[in-house]
Each structure stands twice: as structure tokens, then as C-alpha cells.
Symmetry: C2
Subunit: 118 residues, 2 copies
DNA sequence: CAACAAATTCAACAATTATTGAATTCCATT
DNA sequence: AATGGAATTCAATAATTGTTGAATTTGTTG
């Protein structure tokens, strides 16, 4: 990932409303949440919500899929993955400096659950 | 970490110049880099650079320490750690969805090097 | 097809953020 | 204490981004 692209993703998440939307979708998982339900939970006006959803979609952090009258939005975990990889890459010329990321702890927990080693 | 605080950090990183500064400092490691050297490497005017350094400092992503006439700036890895932890927490109600973060790969590599298991 | 609900788009305005030349502060050296 | 370099602050301006009511599109249902 290039710096310009990563900056776009970070800027998209760097707004309280958009971050709240994204976190909601991350916690909701692949099933997704429809726009009006998001607006209701976060107390956002429809037009404002659409503006932020469009922004997050444009940069590829979320995606919407129409299902009858509703549009279900869900987080794009792959994009998030790439962003975190970019942020932590080439850290400290290979020296240990990020020893306790919860990201890794979470992976540990997942392994403990599933029994898989990779 | 709260959403508001995380959004501030992400917004700080969500600007191409500031992200470039931060990445430079992450790669430089704890030793840090002085302001004019940063400006030279990234081709930024002094006043512009100061503005962005102040922003990154204010939110706690970097810190500057004076050494004679120079001010050495370095990345605050702890803050970065917390941010990544926030972004990846409560993901998908505990289901696996971020299986291949380089963050974790890097931890693996580090363990392979040091021989430590935690 | 008329009525309604979900969601977006539009347009106008408000608010915030970024850039930069000039002035200033801080420190070391002579 | 004067010179000069590192870095910041200031002030004015430029540019971008966010908000929202009203209008519009899209799809469902009576």
C-alpha cells in the first residue's frame, strides 16, 4: 500500500461519525447493517449518514449491498488488514517496538480457540 | 481507547504529509530524526513541517526532545499500539476475520528471532 | 398506479484545516 | 554581545470538508 492510499483510508476513519459507523460495522460482522438502522443507533440525519457512507465506500473500507428496499453495509476487513500491515511495516528497522498489540493478542486468543497454529 | 480519541489519532495520520512524517519516524526507530532532516527528506517548508509536527505531538503520536539546537522527534509506539488495538477489538463478535495481519506476522518473525514465546 | 418508506443527491451554507512568508525564540559559537 | 542556524509562531489567505432541508430515485405494497 502506498502512503497516499493509506492516508485516504486514515482520513476516512479520522472523523468521529465515520469511525463510529465503521466500528459498528466491524462489530456487526459480515452480516452487515442497513443504513437506517445505523442512523438510528448513532443518531445521524439521513443526509449526513449517506455522505459518510459514501465516503467510506469510495475508499473501500465498507461496501453496501441492496436487499429489497434496504441497503446492507458491511466492513471490508481486507482493506483494514492492509492498512494495519502498512502502519506496522518496516518498524524500527526490524527491532522489537510493538510488543503488545492487541491485534496479536486477539490472534493468540483465536488460535487458542480454534487450535490452529496459522 | 474511546472513539473520539481514536478519531483524533486517525485524523492526524490521515494527511499525506503527516503520514509520511510518521512513517519516517517509525522506520527511524527510537533514535528519532531532527526537524530539518525530516523537512529535507520530505521536501517540506519549515513552517508547514512545524505545523504538522505540532499536530502529531498534540495527539501523542510523536514526541520531540531538544538536543542543543536540534529537536529530535520520534514515534510514540505505545500510542500506535493502542490505536491498532482499538481498531481490531470486538471484531466480528469474536469470529476470525482478520487472519493475516502483518502486525502479527511481524510478531511471529520477532519471536523466531528472539526465541521468546511471549 | 397511488402511496409510502429507504436511501441518495443536490445546493447552499458553516466550519475546519492547510499553506506560507515574515517575524520571533532559542541555543551555540566566535 | 553579536552572528548565524534550528525551529516555532504569527497572521493572512487558500482550500477542503461537514451539515442539513428539500427534492429525487428506487423499490414495495395496498
Amino acid at each position: 500500500m502506498e502512503t497516499l492510499n493509506a492516508a485516504e483510508l486514515l482520513a476516512a476513519l479520522g472523523h468521529e461519525s465515520r469511525l463510529a459507523i465503521f466500528r459498528l460495522l466491524v462489530e456487526a460482522g459480515p452480516a452487515g447493517v442497513n443504513a437506517s438502522a445505523i442512523g438510528e443507533q448513532l443518531g445521524m440525519a439521513p443526509a449526513t449518514l449517506s455522505f459518510h457512507l459514501a465516503h467510506l465506500s469510495r475508499v473501500g473500507l465498507i461496501a453496501g449491498e441492496r436487499e429489497s428496499r434496504f441497503i446492507h453495509y458491511s466492513a471490508n476487513f481486507g482493506t483494514m488488514d492492509e492498512l494495519i500491515a502498512f502502519l506496522t511495516s518496516n518498524c524500527c528497522q526490524g527491532e522489537a517496538c510493538l510488543p503488545k498489540t492487541t491485534c496479536c493478542d486477539t490472534t493468540e486468543k483465536r488460535r487458542a480457540k480454534t487450535g490452529k497454529t496459522a
